[in-house]
C-alpha cells in the first residue's frame, strides 16, 4: 500500500467506496473489515457449504472492488454486497435446487413442528444441537433459508429484505413465516433420516 494514503476514519460506505474507486486501498480494507463477517454469514446461507462460502466471500469482495465506483449509496453497503453475493451464487447454480416439502401447507408443517403435542422436546434445545440445526437449515428451500437468515442473523428490516429479494413486503412476511414453521418442522421431524 502506498505510504502517502490518508488515514481512514469512520466514513460512510459511500465515502469509503468513492475513495476506493479513486485508488485508496486502505478505504477498501476498512470497507471489508466492516462487512466481511456479515457477507460470510450470508454466503453460508446461500451456498450451504463452508468452502463454497469462503470462495463466494472472496468473489463478492473482488467484484465489489472492481465495481466500487458504481456504488451510488441508494442502499446500504451491506445490502449492496448481499446483492453481489446473491447474483454470484445464482450464477453458480446450473439448475434449480430441489424444493423439499415445498408443497406442504403451513398447517401440515405446523403439525410436523409439534402442533398439538402435549409435552414435546423444546425446539430451542433441538436447535442448540449444531449438527441438527445445520441439517435442518440445509434442507430448507433456498429462498426460505435466505429469507429466514436475513432476518434472524442480519436483522434486516422487512423493507430491506423485500427489496433485496425483489418481492413485495407482503410476500416477504409470508415467506418468513413459512420458513420459521418449516425450520421447526425439519428440526423436530428430521430431514429424511439424514
Amino acid at each position: 500500500m502506498p505510504a502517502a494514503e490518508e488515514p481512514v476514519g469512520l466514513e460512510t460506505d459511500f465515502e469509503l467506496l468513492q475513495r476506493t474507486a479513486s485508488g485508496n486501498g486502505l478505504a477498501f480494507a476498512e470497507f471489508v473489515e466492516r462487512h466481511q463477517a456479515a457477507v460470510f454469514r450470508h454466503a453460508s446461507c446461500l451456498v450451504g457449504h463452508r468452502q463454497d462460502a469462503e470462495d463466494l466471500l472472496q468473489e463478492t469482495f473482488l467484484s465489489a472492488l472492481k465495481a466500487a465506483g458504481q456504488f451510488r449509496g441508494d442502499a446500504s453497503g451491506r445490502t449492496w454486497l448481499f446483492r453481489i453475493a446473491r447474483n454470484a451464487a445464482l450464477r453458480r447454480t446450473e439448475k434449480p435446487q430441489p424444493l423439499p416439502e415445498s408443497d406442504l401447507t403451513l398447517e401440515a408443517l405446523a403439525v410436523r413442528a409439534g402442533w398439538g403435542i402435549t409435552n414435546p422436546e423444546s425446539l430451542a434445545i433441538l436447535a442448540d444441537d449444531r449438527r441438527r440445526l445445520d441439517r435442518a437449515l440445509a434442507a430448507l428451500p433456498r429462498d426460505e433459508r435466505e429469507m429466514l437468515l436475513l432476518r434472524e442473523w442480519e436483522n434486516l428490516s422487512g423493507e430491506e429484505a423485500a427489496t433485496l429479494l425483489g418481492i413485495s413486503l407482503a410476500a416477504m412476511k409470508s415467506r418468513l413465516h413459512r420458513a420459521r414453521i418449516h425450520l421447526a418442522a425439519l428440526l423436530r421431524y428430521g430431514t429424511g433420516g439424514q
Binding site: F40, R41, A127, W153, K173, H177, R180
Partner: protein
C-alpha cells in the same frame, strides 16, 4: 388438507388464526387490538401458548448459531484482495 387438531375458538380467534399470525405477533407487527385478541387466545389455549413459545425459543437459539469468519479465512481474504489491489495498480 391437514386440519389443525383441536382447532378451537378462544378470545374471538381460532387456533388456525394464531398460526397464521404467529410471526407478526412475535415480531410485534400486529396492531394493538389484534395483538390483545391474540393475547386473550394464548391465555385460554395452552396448545397455542406452548407452540408460540416453542417457536420463539427456536428463533433465539437460531440467532445464537451464526457461522463465524475465522482468522484464517480473514487472512486468506485479505491476501486475495491485496493481490488484486496490486494487479489493479492501487
Amino acid at each position: 388438507m391437514i386440519q389443525l387438531e383441536g382447532n378451537q375458538l378462544v378470545g374471538g380467534l381460532w387456533c388456525s388464526d394464531i398460526l397464521a399470525t404467529l410471526s407478526q405477533y412475535l415480531d410485534g407487527e400486529l396492531d394493538s387490538q389484534t395483538a390483545a385478541r391474540v393475547d386473550d387466545h394464548l391465555q385460554g389455549c395452552s396448545n397455542c401458548a406452548r407452540f408460540g413459545a416453542d417457536v420463539s425459543g427456536m428463533l433465539v437459539s437460531l440467532s445464537g448459531h451464526q457461522p463465524e469468519l475465522s482468522e484464517e479465512k480473514t487472512a486468506r481474504l485479505a491476501q486475495a484482495l491485496s493481490e488484486e489491489l496490486e494487479r489493479s495498480q492501487f
